[in-house]
Amino acid sequence: MSDSTNRFGLLAEFDTPAETMVAAAKVRDAGFKRWDVYTPYPVHGMDAAMGLGNSRVGWFTFCLGCTGFTLGMLMIWYMNAYNYPITVGGKPNFSPMSSFPVCYEMTILFGAFGSLGGMLFLNRLPRWYHPLFNSDRFKLVTHDKFYICIESSDPKYNDAETRGLLQAAGSRHIEEVRE
């Protein structure tokens, strides 16, 4: 039992993206929740095979983009119309028209930080330690191998049955990964 306390999960290796996708669909259909596919590049169709919906990054982009636009308008109004009004040729001290280019750029600037920050936040990155890095073979995940890992914390996890499922899905190398 001392083994199971620091066990992270079962890591199954695959050689081709097609095999991995078929296997991922099987793991999804078996009802696992705490599992993931690891690939060297984004495999087209894998999100559907894993049963993932739409990513929520867009909300971060949207909210920060709106913030950028509003901040830009407020900043220009405060600086040129409120704190130190600069009157040029009898034109209004604040106009949304002449303020627009700057606010447009700020929308994009904040939106870009929202996209990157949202992606990192949702992925819980940076995280420089991961139990999978304990596996030597897992180094090939950024090279040419594909992996499916089912975590032992999944309620459906059962050492023998899960191993059988991954074997039946076509993996030729399965190893146990520890924390």
Partner: protein
């Protein structure tokens, strides 16, 4: 599907209609990582030193020129009244324009699902960042007292005055600094998976730690890819209006003023097309030698080069059309000052600059109507350089010829650059090449992960990707 279902044969299209694959010779996934990553591994090859040392020395000359300018005053440049914007602003617009192809390749072609962008987008994005750095130098030192350059930004200062937000020059500050920041984010985000590849390949502790920190602990998890791809798409969607707005705003620096030859509404689209034109020229100038030296002909194929030539042809034609339309409106608009400005461009004292521009920008891209020229790589390389010379002349013509004939004929003058002008410009080329060579040496200059996506082994619906009965 049951095995006894009637098998449906889908015939392949005839050979001439089939597209060439984007990764030639059925290269496997591991080959792609090895071939691209090895450029940044091992001892630096001889060609790298041969390119790096002169670039670095030229950069030092540029630094010396800037030190001289700062310590002595902006008068060491050839600027005078009425030509108070000359080489510096020409170089600024030229460098910014070069940067634009990087964003075009990475963002607009991503939105348009042009899969051929994958092998050139990283180098093009790096080009963008370094080109914008070079561009920023010119207006920064043009202000004369560079230690007050922070007055351009809305930072509280001792005078208690804020920037004047109705000026296009201030819009430019925001546009260019946003452009630099967003390009950097886009470039870095696109590189995270490849930095993980470099981390996993690293042999020395130092490289493991360095690439490891930069890779942020990327595991290639599909739940991560899922958010990552969405964020990448959003960044592409943000960078596309950004790149169009940046050069539009750069053109506002001119178009919003009252100077004949500048005050035209055609400027924003015409500047954007010109920027993409020169940027693709620069991408070809950089990528053609690199693909030959690093043996990446299977990843950056002749088809890639041909497609870039077609973009040059299209944008070059837009630029040519804009030149014609400017002239037409100068005549049709009935404003004698505007017409004079244009006649003076073509037949005045700077006629040589105008006709160099026409030869380089309007004539040279039209060779690319023919496949024979598009596939002759030496010829393409030569034209890519000609295009950038032409685009430099375009900015010179717009800026200098419009200014040197002021409203008061007593002000009229002929602008000649000083040696400091010339060496500062050459120095920024050294800066650009130094940074680009360092990038090639330490970071994967092709997008390893994305090239895998477009390879046959990476396609889950291809028989080489393991699909049963795949095409």
């Amino acid at each position: 599907m049951s095995s006894d279902a009637p098998s449906i044969e889908i015939p392949l299209p005839p050979k001439e209609l089939q597209r060439e694959p984007l990764v030639l010779h059925h290269r496997p996934l591991g080959w792609i990582s090895n071939q691209i990553a090895c450029i940044a591994e091992g001892p630096a090859p001889k060609w790298w030193w041969i390119a790096f040392i002169p670039s670095f020395l030229i950069m030092c000359v540029g630094a010396a020129m800037i030190s001289y300018q700062v310590s002595t005053g902006v008068g060491v440049w050839g600027l005078m009244v009425p030509v108070a914007w000359a080489w510096d602003i020409t170089n600024f617009v030229w460098w910014i324009g070069i940067g634009h192809a990087g964003t075009l390749i990475s963002a607009i072609l991503c939105l348009l699902r042009q899969r051929w962008r994958t092998s050139i987008n990283r180098a093009a994005e790096a080009m963008t960042i370094f080109a914008v750095m070079c561009a920023g130098i010119f207006p920064m030192f043009h202000v004369g007292r560079v230690w007050f350059a922070y007055w351009l930004f809305p930072i509280p200062n001792a005078n208690g005055v804020w920037p004047q937000f109705r000026s296009p020059l201030l819009w430019d500050v925001f546009a260019v600094s946003t452009y630099f920041t967003v390009s950097l984010l886009f470039w870095y985000m696109g590189m995270i998976p490849d930095l993980a590849t470099m981390r996993d390949r690293a042999k020395s502790k130092l490289r493991q730690i360095g690439y490891g920190i930069a890779a942020l602990g990327w595991t290639g998890s599909n739940r991560h890819w899922w958010n990552y791809e969405k964020a990448y798409l959003l960044l592409a969607g943000l960078a596309t209006p950004l790149v169009l707005s940046v050069h539009s705003i750069v053109s506002f620096d001119f178009a919003v003023s009252q100077v004949p030859g500048w005050h035209t509404t055609i400027f924003p689209p015409y500047f954007v097309a010109g920027a993409i034109f020169s940027g693709f020229g620069m991408v070809l100038t950089l990528v053609l030698p690199l693909r030959a030296i690093c043996n990446l002909q299977d990843v950056i194929t002749v088809r890639h080069v041909e497609l870039m030539c077609k973009v040059l042809l299209a944008t070059g034609s837009i630029v040519g059309y804009a030149y014609g339309m400017e002239f037409f409106i100068a005549w049709y608009g009935g404003n004698p000052y505007e017409l004079y400005a244009f006649q003076n461009r073509a037949f005045g004292p700077y006629w040589w600059a105008y006709w160099s521009m026409i030869t380089c920008n309007v004539v040279s891209p039209h060779f690319f109507w023919f496949k024979r020229f598009r596939t002759n790589l030496w010829f393409v390389f030569a034209i890519s350089i000609v295009v950038n010379i032409g685009m430099w002349f375009e900015r010179f013509v717009i800026i200098v010829t419009s200014l040197h004939r002021d409203y008061l004929p007593s002000n009229w003058a002929y602008y000649i650059p000083s040696w400091v002008d010339i060496w500062t410009y050459i120095g920024t080329m050294g800066l650009f090449m130094t940074f680009f060579l360092l990038f090639v040496r330490f970071l994967p200059f092709c997008n390893i992960a994305e090239v895998k996506v477009v390879s046959e082994y990476g396609d889950p619906h291809h028989s080489l990707g393991g699909a049963k009965g795949g095409h």
